[in-house]
């Protein structure tokens, strides 16, 4: 009989293995990463330059504030996209490499497997988000003297739990539908983009969309990070953003694991848990 300490140790070794595997792959496909990063920078620049465009067309705006709002929106959006992408690859990448059957027949708890993917996703997305923020900020004359970066990072860290939970739910889609699963994941991501106030205040949305915004963790992440960067709010002032993030995180991770478990069971029943779609 294996002791529980032995089991926990084995699970943690497996979790570290998932993280390490992803680090290996980033190193091996580094040119893909660089190309993708340049594309993300270009995308963020295109959005942030809209502020300059509005002023050049005669619009009356607080240019610096608008630039910062758009910059934070673009960075958080890229951060969320990276987390979703890594988690979706839990199945899609393994199927592409042909390793999916070996990974799913290994004696590692699925929670540890997905937890390892989530841990790597957060670290990977955070590095890219920080780089993106500084690279894009370099193009604009933005002064953020009040910015409370520590508080912004805490908000992002708390929001990451919810993002990983939702990512687990979308990660199962390629398992259920090998042909359309990844694309269906983009729909979930797109809905979050529309309703969460990434580039505009949630108040401009129709009422039913505003309701959706209240259950999107991205809404609170954006409001919290913006308040920390623009107003210099500390954690005490950010409690209205932090507690919904904690609640959504506590609900979304177990829900994500359950959705994945059911999807895996469906794939085993229908024969879709295999290397070729």
């Amino acid at each position: 009989m294996r002791s529980s300490a032995h089991v926990v140790r084995a699970e943690l070794v497996g979790l570290a293995g998932v993280v390490e595997r992803n680090v290996y792959l980033v190193r091996r496909y580094i040119w893909w990463d660089l190309a993708f990063f340049v594309w993300t920078v270009a995308n963020a620049l295109t959005i942030v330059f809209i502020a300059e465009g509005v002023e050049a067309a005669g619009g009356q705006i607080d240019l610096e504030r608008t630039i910062t709002i758009l910059l934070i929106g673009a960075v958080i959006w890229a951060y969320l996209g990276d987390i979703f992408e890594v988690l979706t690859e839990t199945v899609a990448w393994e199927r592409w490499e042909g390793t999916i059957e070996y990974t799913f027949m290994a004696p590692l708890a699925r929670s540890m497997h997905l937890g390892g993917m989530g841990l790597f996703a957060v670290a990977y997305a955070l590095v890219r988000a920080v780089l993106l923020f500084w690279v894009v900020a370099f193009f604009f004359d933005v002064d953020m003297p009040q910015a409370n970066y520590t508080a912004a990072l805490v908000v992002l860290a708390v929001a990451s739990v919810s993002f990983v939970g939702i990512g687990m739910m979308t990660a199962v889609l390629p398992l259920i539908s090998p042909e359309k699963g990844t694309q269906l994941g983009f729909i979930a991501q797109g809905i979050l983009l529309v309703v969460s106030g990434v580039y505009y205040p949630v108040s401009v949305l129709p009422e039913w969309m505003q309701w959706l915004a209240t259950i999107s963790p991205a809404t609170y992440a954006l409001e919290g990070v913006r308040a920390a960067i623009l107003e210099g709010d500390g954690l005490a002032e950010l409690r209205d953003e932090l507690w919904p993030l904690v609640v959504i995180g506590v609900v979304s991770v177990p829900l994500g694991l359950e959705v994945f478990r059911r999807g895996e069971r469906h794939a085993k029943r229908t024969g879709k848990l295999k290397r070729s779609g």
Binding site: G14, G17, R28, E101, A106, A109, T270, G271, K272
Partner: protein, 266 residues
């Protein structure tokens, strides 16, 4: 003698769409398969493409759920207690599946981590095990995509052995290999039987391989296990001088007739 594998009335179907109206139909892949394998025994399941061999291996690997019947590995229910089964089983399939850009050493270390083995534990074992399967140790840092199919299959064997499985599922491990690599892999499987207490289920459509490696040979045809006996008993039963003749007598078809692939459709 301890029973390693006990399969009773195992049934599996897949849903496929066919015909002009793309109607869904259920295609049986396994029809009430029953057999047992004793600990330390090597059993070969012989069958053509679409006979259900891969489905059987994937069911025992916990990658599929059955429509009916039971399967136990060393007393653990494959469908109710899959994690206990996974600790005991490893598998080598026809395609050596690896992360192509990672080296053989990295792939092995990663796979072993899923079985709770740390880099400190696998560090000295990986070169040893690669050497045992005849893989040149100096190439262990090369990406898998640079290796030949035969080399990749040796690494697949090493990966399976690294976790010290008590049941090894070999699903056409030599298919597509050049004659030399095929002989090397077969020799290694024999050596494994001599030096380890591993139980082996070998699914193959290579008659010579089945006769060479297995204690007993089963014939699986269109999802039905027609017989499972020693090669000599099979030949006696069907009054055949070769295994090929025994296959023909039991199935009514020549071995080369390749029915439409029905495995794992969905």
């Amino acid at each position: 003698m301890t029973t390693a594998v006990e399969v009773r009335d195992l049934r599996k179907e897949f849903v496929t769409r066919g015909g002009r109206r793309l109607r869904r139909r259920r295609v049986p892949a396994l029809r009430g398969v029953s057999f047992t394998i004793a600990q330390g025994e090597c059993v070969a399941i012989l069958g053509q493409n679409g006979s259900g061999k891969s489905t059987l291996v994937r069911l025992l690997s916990t990658l599929l759920l059955a429509e009916g019947g039971t399967a136990e590995i060393f007393g653990h229910d494959v469908f109710r207690d899959p994690r206990a089964v996974r600790r005991l089983v490893n598998r080598v399939s026809v395609e050596a599946a690896f992360f192509k850009k990672m080296s053989s050493a990295e792939n092995l270390a990663y796979a072993a981590r899923f079985y709770g083995m740390t880099p400190r534990e696998t560090g000295p074992r990986i070169p040893e095990i690669l050497e045992r399967v005849g893989f040149p140790a100096e190439r262990r840092r090369e990406p898998m995509e640079n290796l030949s199919r035969g080399m990749q299959q040796k690494v697949a064997l090493a990966r399976a052995l690294l976790t010290s499985p008590v049941l090894l599922l070999l699903d056409e491990p030599t298919t597509g290999l050049d004659p030399r690599s095929k002989l090397e892999v077969q020799e290694f499987i024999r050596e494994l039987r001599r030096t380890h207490d591993a139980t082996i289920l070998l699914c193959t459509h290579d008659l010579v391989e089945a006769e060479l490696l297995a204690d007993r040979v089963g014939i699986l045809d269109r999802g039905e296990l027609l017989c499972l006996e020693s090669t000599e008993a099979l030949k006696r039963r069907f009054d055949a001088s070769t295994l090929e003749e025994a296959f023909l007598a039991s199935t009514g078809r020549v071995f080369e007739d390749d029915p439409e692939e029905e495995d794992d459709t969905s």
